[in-house]
């Protein structure tokens, strides 16, 4: 019995020693960040959920990043240096994201971090950025906390946020005659926060408005009938929807037999009317849903937007530009512009350059607010409609609402953070 233990311990000890030596000897030669700063590419760590349920939303953003990178590098790069990505799968899991972000910073020696989709994942990466004093630019996540009470010097966001989204939808209801509202959103941070923002704001702009009921399905719900019958029983005029992705597709299909979309008017956040949702739903997408998207490929009809759409389609060979592609595209350009303005990749100087920076984007100028690092990025809103031009629903009466007037003021954020 004893003898066996000994030999195993022996092997184990030897193994650890060999591992230690082999790992350390190989690692020494990796490029140090500062040494040859002029010839080496500028390295950007990208974090997205490449596998798992969120993959279909992440792919368009990654493609957007790639299109921007190709354009920038063809034009000679930034400060004469090429941009380069190191892409990691965060598995839409905050624990994995922390490990991967650390690996990008410590082993890949990336100069900047970008990306993530899920709110909790972005908060996790933000913490790694703070600890390692690395600039992190969030491209999609919406949890308002990321740039308000949990914000710090090293985190920036080019996406909208839960507060802006909820308030914008409420604002659009200001002039409608409806007073009876029902809300349905998944029972987690995003759903809770965005509904809270809507309810608070709609009561402000329309004091007669009342919430006649609320549904809180779990994330990943597939059985929608109980929710649909409960909504119809409450007889609301308007249903505010934040159920998204595959869940929304299932919801639409299960709601049809009830004549749901004829009985209630639906207003929706969570980008359910964006192209990547419209294509799989095809002709099943109900008409007249007031919804939002980061971008729709047919609007605005400007030279910048057409150029982006063409570049994306040429690069990816896809038939249509999905709505989230632009977030990757803008993200990379924002960072490149800040580096250019700073004249260096030094983190502190790039942060200073990014604060207050205004970028011309395909959907118009976007400005990064200096104090909280939240871009004034809003979303496009429109009504779903079917036309002979496309086999899926598009938006009509499209307009872009930016964040100003909706986001928290700097004073409010200071109070949230306990600063003066």
């Amino acid at each position: 019995m004893k003898r066996k233990v000994l030999s195993r311990v022996w092997v184990l000890g030897l193994g650890v020693l060999v591992l230690a030596v082999s790992l350390t000897s190989g690692d020494r030669g990796l490029t140090p960040r500062a040494a040859d700063a002029t010839s080496h590419p500028i390295r950007i760590g990208l974090l997205y959920g490449i596998t798992g349920f969120a993959a279909i939303y992440n792919k368009p953003a990654i493609h957007g990043h790639e299109v921007a990178l190709a354009e920038i590098n063809e034009a000679g790069g930034v400060l004469g240096r090429k941009l380069q990505y190191a892409l990691r799968d965060d598995k839409t899991n905050p624990e994995v994201a922390v490990r991967m972000a650390n690996e990008l910073v410590l082993r890949e020696k990336v100069d900047f971090l970008m990306g993530t989709l899920a709110s909790h994942v972005s908060l996790a990466v933000s913490e790694v950025a703070r600890k390692n004093k690395i600039l992190y630019l969030a491209t999609i996540p919406k949890t308002e906390a990321l740039t308000s009470e949990k914000g710090h010097r090293y985190v920036f966001r080019v996406a909208s946020n839960t507060l802006i989204e909820g308030r914008q939808l409420a604002e659009l209801e200001k002039t409608t005659p409806a007073t009876r509202y029902y809300t349905i959103a998944n029972d987690y941070e995003y759903g809770r926060k965005v509904v809270e923002a809507f309810v608070d704001h709609v009561k402000k702009v329309k004091p007669r408005a009342q919430i006649v009921g609320q549904g809180w399905p779990k994330l990943g719900e597939t059985e929608w009938t109980p929710f649909i019958t409960a909504i119809l029983a409450a007889k609301p005029e308007v249903v505010l929807n934040f159920v998204y992705g595959d869940m929304f597709i299932a919801f639409v299909k299960q709601a049809k037999p009830y004549g749901y979309f004829e009985k209630v008017r639906v207003i929706s956040g969570a980008e359910v009317v964006s192209t990547e949702m419209a294509v799989p739903l095809g002709k099943d997408m109900p008409e007249g849903i007031l919804g939002n998207a980061y971008d729709v490929f047919y609007w605005p009809d400007t030279a910048e937007h057409r150029k982006f759409v063409k570049a994306y389609l040429d690069k990816t060979g896809e038939a249509f530009v999905p709505g989230w592609a632009i977030q990757g595209y803008i993200g990379t350009y924002f960072l490149a512009e800040a580096i250019k303005k700073a004249g260096t990749t030094d983190t502190e100087k790039v942060i200073a350059a990014m604060e207050g920076l205004t970028l011309k984007t395909p959907i118009g100028p976007v400005t990064m607010r200096a104090y909280d690092h939240q871009a004034n990025r809003g979303q496009v809103y429109g009504l779903t409609t079917h036309s002979a031009d496309y086999p899926f629903a598009i938006l009509k009466d499209v307009k872009y609402l930016n964040a100003e007037g909706f986001w928290r003021s700097v004073e409010e954020i200071k109070a949230l953070r306990g600063e003066k």
């Binding site: 003898r3 311990v9 996790a124």
Partner: protein
């Protein structure tokens, strides 16, 4: 005889030298990876006290790991309790939770035990996920400020190493004690052990609580190391990870689960760097390991060692 009794000292010495000297040689990334491996090794070994020695397959062990991590996180972030008080509170709270859930679980055998542990594990996850006021829900608690001696990767590594080693030492003493031997007897033949007059449920509960407590320590180590805690720590997939680690490393060997933890984490990290098809590569590697090393890596090494010593005796 004297010659053989020196061999374990050599082995342990080498192990201590390797682990102790590691931060002096390795870069910060690998020190972090090693720290995470140490924590997961403790987590997996705590689990194996139940599986390998008690014959109890728990699918809710991650719940206790999460309780440990959240205890530290909540005490430090929400109530500003200093780390040196929050840290020991973690195993205490975990033991309490384990005593309550274990009271019900140990009454069941086999699959029924596994299912109930799964249910309790998910219950803990549900509480963490839903109780946003205390746990901040799915956003997790981020920005846990570790004390200054833990902020450097080296300091964090040595702190983890010392505590992990101490806990593994305690686990060894538990397994070698009469209690540990009785636990083996329960695993081998529960009915017979009961007939001898052993209070089986009481001992199983003790094993359950002890095992959970060490998982709580692992969680408490991970919280300041990671800087943030998330509900996913309590999810059944996390429980599944330690089951995999134990089986991969060898659940009938004392250090087997630790080896499993090291392999799983290293593979996961390394493969993800090189390909986005990491689940495929990882799956194939695990398939080969499970098919060709049914007793786990350490079980295989043991067979090799036995064959070798038999060979020298013949020659």
């Amino acid at each position: 005889m004297r010659g053989t009794s020196l061999r374990p000292l050599w082995g342990w010495g080498l192990l201590a030298l390797g682990l102790g000297g590691f931060p002096l040689l390795a870069s910060e990334f690998y020190i972090r990876l090693a720290t995470e491996i140490l924590i997961m090794a403790l987590f997996a070994m705590s689990f194996n006290l139940l599986l390998g020695y008690g014959g109890m397959l728990s699918f809710g062990h991650a719940g206790f790991y999460a309780v440990g991590a959240y205890t530290v996180a909540i005490l430090m972030k929400k109530t500003s309790v200093p780390f040196f008080l929050a840290f020991p509170a973690a195993p205490a709270v975990t033991a309490l939770v384990a005593a309550v859930t274990g009271y019900f679980c140990v009454r069941l055998r086999g699959f029924y035990f596994s299912i109930l542990t799964l249910a309790f594990g998910q219950l803990i996850w549900g509480v963490i996920f839903k109780w946003s006021a205390l746990t901040e829900g799915d956003d997790g608690i981020v920005g846990i400020r570790a004390p200054t001696f833990l902020t450097s990767s080296g300091g964090s590594y040595y702190f983890t190493l010392v505590l992990t080693a101490a806990c593994i030492g305690l686990l060894w003493m538990i397994i070698e004690s009469p209690f540990g031997r009785t636990l083996l007897a329960i695993r081998e033949n529960t009915d017979r052990t009961q007939f001898i007059g052993v209070d089986v449920n009481r001992l199983r509960l003790l094993a359950f609580v002890l095992s959970a407590t060490f998982a709580g320590v692992a969680g408490a180590l991970f919280a300041p190391f990671n800087g943030s805690v998330f509900p996913t720590f309590a999810l059944w997939t996390k429980s599944g990870e330690v089951v995999m680690m134990s089986i991969l490393g060898g659940m009938h060997t004392f250090l087997g689960p630790a080896v499993g933890a090291a392999i799983m984490l290293s593979l996961d990290q390394m493969i993800s760097v090189y390909t986005e098809y990491w689940p495929f590569v990882l799956g194939v590697i695990l398939l080969v390991l499970v098919l060709f090393f049914p007793a786990g890596i350490t079980g295989f090494v043991r067979v090799l060692a036995r064959r070798e010593s038999a060979g020298t005796r013949l020659a």
